[in-house]
């Protein structure tokens, strides 16, 4: 319930801000100015676009499979949004604290691909079907490196519960935390940035890079936006959608972006823990940790990854289908298995 009350309004707010931010970032990268006309600095541009979109006619082409076509956007959005239910929000407050947290999350966001396939197939349009096919191939391939990189974190933490993983990365942790996994460098009481997973086990940085790349593919973001690729497939699986149904796809895409950004922050970068350590009597870590601080840190970290995703979008060109598959199967999967192996050895040998 808390997830519903916090994340749903935040997601809607985030989409408005993120679309604006995306436009501004793309403009600045390309030495343009972006939206400036509607409201101060063009801040209301997205709201104006949203109002326009909601007024649009809900076009249903004649030859569609009506049931699949109409239900697909709901499935896509619902599956992405269900992923939020297991996220911790701050110290002591989490959505559903099920013990299979990450596993549930990965499982439920995979249903996203089902909705995309339904949308593509139901549209009865060759571009939509091509987009949907690409999407399935892509998401199925990239689930594996994504899962393996998360598994490395889970091996270190010893739990699937995201709230427990968060607690383990700070001063509240009951089990000892070691900087770089070295026994003589116990940092349980110091906390801060030193107890983040990525510093407890530096090899996890490689896992994070793999996680980040695969999460871009999961969220259908550039450079992995083959299912949409507006230049070749005219929008791919959502070619035939209009109005609010198209808006749901949009919402799901941005929701997925936000979800994987939260996940990256939780799994690798200390979740809602403050980056400031306790230094002697200056207990900066304790001062900057708490319920409100937790929300601040978690959302700040997530926003950082959102900006990174946007910068990646405006930097790299789209991959070819064969390059996409090569990257996943020949590079990411072997490397993530290797990282998993190293994490296991490291934990066994040093801790």
């Amino acid at each position: 319930m808390i997830t519903f009350l916090i994340f749903l309004p935040f997601l809607l707010f985030f989409v408005v801000i993120a679309v604006y931010g995306e436009r501004k970032i793309s403009a600045f990268v390309q030495t343009r100015v972006g939206p400036i006309e509607v409201g101060p600095f063009g801040l209301f541009q997205t709201i104006a676009d949203l109002l326009k979109m909601l007024q649009k006619e809900d076009i249903r082409p004649f030859a569609i499979d009506k049931f699949l076509f109409l239900i697909a956007p709901l499935i896509v959005f619902a599956s992405v949004f269900t992923g939020y239910s297991v996220l911790p929000i701050t110290q002591g407050i989490a959505g559903s604290e099920i013990s299979t947290g990450v596993f549930f999350l990965l499982g439920v966001i995979s249903l996203d691909v089902l909705g995309i396939l339904m949308a593509g197939w139901g549209s009865n349009n060759k571009f939509s079907v091509l987009g949907a096919m690409r999407s399935v191939a892509q998401i199925v391939s990239y689930e594996i490196p994504l899962g393996l990189s998360i598994l490395a974190v889970v091996m270190l933490a010893g739990t699937l519960n995201l709230q427990e993983i968060s607690v383990l990365q700070g001063v509240q942790s009951e089990s000892p935390a070691y900087f770089l996994g070295i026994h003589s460098l116990e940092v349980t009481d110091i906390g801060g940035i030193l107890t983040w997973n990525i510093f407890q086990m530096p090899i996890l940085f490689v896992a994070f890079v793999i996680f980040f790349i695969s999460s871009l593919a999961e969220a259908n973001r550039v450079p992995f936006d083959l299912p949409e690729s507006e230049s070749e497939l005219i929008g791919g699986y959502h070619t035939e959608y209009s109005g609010f149904r198209w808006g749901l796809f949009m919402l799901a895409e941005y929701g997925m972006m936000l979800l994987v950004s939260f996940l990256a922050a939780i799994l690798f970068f200390g979740s809602w823990q403050s980056p400031l350590p306790n230094v002697g009597s200056f207990t900066l870590g304790d001062w900057t940790n708490g319920v409100v601080w937790g929300i601040f840190w978690l959302f700040l970290k997530a926003m950082f990854f959102i900006v990174l995703q946007m910068m990646v979008r405006w930097t790299y060109p789209r991959l070819r289908v064969d390059q996409l598959m090569t990257l996943s199967w020949k590079y990411l999967i072997p490397i993530s298995i290797f990282v998993l192996f190293i994490v296991g050895i490291w934990k066994l040998a040093l801790v």
Partner: protein, 239 residues
């Protein structure tokens, strides 16, 4: 196997340099390029920052010798018709009305002898070659720096420079016709007196009294045209 690791290293280094480049642009977007022209000394120094020129609010300076909208200073125009003759796309339409005597001087001292009943320049047809401004003997026809004169109706691109009212035009026309008629009469009388031959009809000598007559043939650089007006065959429509 060696290639495999080489590919990984290459992918990482190129991806990072790509990101570095875009972040550099993002960082430089704090500043904005100023709208300075190519003539400015700092023109090539400005290679950073937002390049967008928000046109109606700001614009690049136009060079002084730019060839944009035509302007005719009608007070200085002697209605010599050279511009209309030289125009490759025939965008200038002139309708002269001859005066009975010099009607004043232009600002450079050239006497004016013809009224401009109509001096229309259709900028929609203009090809901006600037030939008309070079042939203009009194330099009254110039190209200005105004370039933003788009309109909703293409007819609004026809700029009229003549200042005479219809009444004035009719009046001047009548004056000239009268003058011409008197002259012809006087000449006919003179001819009759001199030769005593009365059989010749007047009509042959008198020009058609339309009053519309193009006048050309002034030497180019001299701004004091000779009083002689070369007779030309009657105006054959617009040339």
């Amino acid at each position: 196997m060696k290639d495999y690791f080489r590919h990984i290293a290459l992918a990482i280094s190129t991806s990072l340099s790509g990101l570095r480049l875009t972040f550099k642009y993002l960082f430089e977007a704090r500043e904005k390029r100023k709208p300075i022209g190519v003539a400015d000394d700092n023109y090539f120094e400005q290679d950073k920052g937002i390049a967008t020129l928000q046109y109606p609010f700001e614009s690049l300076p136009v060079p002084d010798n730019g060839r944009y909208k035509l302007h005719n200073e009608i007070d200085d125009c002697i209605v010599c018709d050279k511009c209309a003759k030289v125009c490759p796309v025939d965008c200038i339409e002139i309708e002269p009305v001859r005066a009975t005597e010099a009607i004043g001087n232009t600002s450079d001292g050239t006497p004016k002898r013809i009224y401009a009943a109509k001096f229309d320049i259709d900028m929609a047809k203009c090809c901006f070659c600037g030939l008309c401004t070079t042939v203009c003997p009194t330099e009254c026809l110039t190209m200005t720096k105004a370039y933003d004169f788009s309109t909703f109706d293409v007819k609004d691109h026809n700029y009229s420079f003549a200042e005479m009212s219809l009444v004035e035009i009719a009046q001047k026309r009548n004056e000239f016709a009268e003058f011409q008629a008197n002259k012809t009469k006087a000449k006919a009388i003179g001819v009759n007196d001199a030769s005593g031959v009365a059989a010749k009809p007047k009509v042959v000598i008198s020009k058609p009294v339309t009053g519309v007559k193009p006048v050309v043939g002034k030497p180019k650089p001299v701004f004091r045209p000779k009083p002689m007006i070369r007779k030309k065959p009657s105006d054959d429509g617009d040339n």
